[in-house]
Symmetry: C2
Subunit: 321 residues, 2 copies
């Protein structure tokens, strides 16, 4: 993709900065950070941050620091997520949680958050720090809601709120903060915030679609994994809203998606959703978010970076992983 060429040098600086965060620390912690950072993430958040910042002429050192902070924040949430879910693999690599005690994993996640916070404060932008803190709060609050309330929760508004907190909030902060440190005008900042929000929403919808349509080998977990754990995503909502009289709808409308009867039907339900119009309908919603993202993006003058951001926006809804 074209963006690789545009950000590759900056992204190396971001990687170096992240890897330096555990210098001088306990060797187990240094090893843990290496494991986490080397386990092959897509780095989509720092890439977007760098492209928005470069498009708007952000001062380079601040931009590199911001991009590293955003990816570290994301990384910290993954460390704690894997612990909470008891996941033993992520992207085909063993999680920290699979090798370490829960205590060590909690502390490593806290350390990664602390370093993300230190990096964001190194940008010397109070607004960026404030957004960072709000986003950490939103991500955590979203996870807590998912933990306590989302089981069998068949509600479209709650779904959108959850994916905003879980994913779009951080994408939004990446783009907003990159515009802010570029000293862009309020209108530009506002369109970049919109751009980040919209691609973040689309990104999570795609994740939720891929949970049904992806190959087990590629996504690294069984098809329909969310539904199996009682989490209702957009394809499920679309499918049963289209079929209120389907006998299987009772499991969702009455909050009975952890009963024995449900578990007996789960493979059939997953298969039906996967092969239904609910998937293309969900794709259409993701495309609508991307269309709004591109509207916001196109308020900026044409540039190589703008083209690359457009390319990534399209990739977000076309990806298979």
């Amino acid at each position: 993709m074209m963006y690789t060429r545009l950000v590759q040098d900056d992204l190396s600086l971001v990687e170096n900065l992240m890897h330096r965060q555990a210098l001088g620390e306990n060797k187990d912690l240094r090893n843990a950070l290496e494991i986490i950072l080397s386990s092959g993430g897509k780095r989509i958040r720092p890439v977007i941050t760098l492209l928005v910042g470069n498009m708007l002429n952000a001062p380079k050192p601040q931009l590199i620091t911001l991009a590293a902070s955003m990816e570290m924040l994301h990384t910290g949430t993954l460390v704690h997520d894997d612990l909470i879910d008891g996941s033993l693999l992520r992207r085909g690599h063993p999680t920290l949680n699979a090798k370490w005690s829960p205590g060590a994993t909690v502390l490593t996640g806290d350390f990664v958050f602390a370093k993300a916070a230190e990096l964001i404060s190194d940008t010397h932008s109070v607004s960026a720090v404030n957004m960072f803190a709000k986003t950490l709060g939103e991500i955590t609050s979203g996870e807590i809601t998912q933990f306590f309330e989302s089981k069998c929760n068949f509600n479209r508004d709650d779904y959108y709120e959850r994916i905003y907190k879980k994913t779009a909030s951080l994408f939004r902060t990446c783009c907003c903060a990159a515009a802010i440190i570029s000293s862009a005008d309020d209108e530009t900042i506002s369109s970049m915030c919109t751009f980040g929000y919209e691609i973040g929403m689309a990104f999570q919808i795609l994740d939720d679609i891929l949970d049904f349509t992806g190959e087990e080998m590629t996504i690294g977990k069984p098809v329909g994994n969310d539904l199996r754990s009682g989490l209702i995503t957009l394809p499920v909502i679309n499918y049963f809203e289209n079929r209120p009289d389907d006998p299987d709808a009772q499991f969702f409308l009455n909050g009975k998606c952890d009963t024995f009867e449900f578990i007996n039907r789960i493979d059939t339900i997953i298969d039906s959703i996967k092969n239904s119009e609910a998937i293309s309908q969900s794709m259409k919603e993701a495309e609508t978010f991307i269309a709004r993202a591109l509207d916001a993006l196109h308020r900026q003058p044409a540039s190589e970076e703008r083209d690359a951001l457009e390319e990534i926006s399209v990739y977000i809804i076309q990806r298979k992983i």
Copy 2:
């Protein structure tokens, strides 16, 4: 104590601000925060923050926000600590960990950190934010070292480094940041940083002394709890440095404090330390830290707040709990 009268109104504002942090969130999270905040901490960190700020004429809203942020940061570390240690009680109340799943406890701690970060960014002081982030990193790094390396580690320098990270770093930030938001001159900021550091070190040494001399009912855990879990504190270091030829010294000098022979001897060892000169010797070290703290404090002109800070400094080494 006199400081109660001086800060009581401000402290109520700090309490209110902390209790408001979960407004609008999931009800389990709101309940959790209530439980954590109502479990009777001494609130020594916000009290000191308020006194330093008021002494230096800090703008009130910023000072309240800073004090709340400091106590929330402390609270977040307690939530995760209890999980890591598997503690079921803190200050006589059941911990979150005793009632909730580890996942919910991890997320609640993360939420409290996020709110602490949001509060510190609301002070609009980049330096305060930076100190906050560094302190969170130091606390976590200290805990990680304690987790991986401190078992049977009989080393005075490592002990001081550990208690700095674990406790003094936050006391220091409370006082430094209060001076910074007061727009104090560099010399004043520097003496307040010193004051915070010194009382923080003394505070932790007292905790470590009380672990031997405290009443089980009052401190809420068995006497010698740290040593039982292999953690070497100042009284132990002083005791065996005074008796290099004591047969029990072998357990520490050879890192064998988790052997069966050691466990067999532990009650006797704890009793010997408790009744030895190592306690008063450790007290003397705590007093030295407090003397240096008072030197730094006395560089400020006399005021009611300065008197109250002096009173608290003395309380720190005289307390029984």
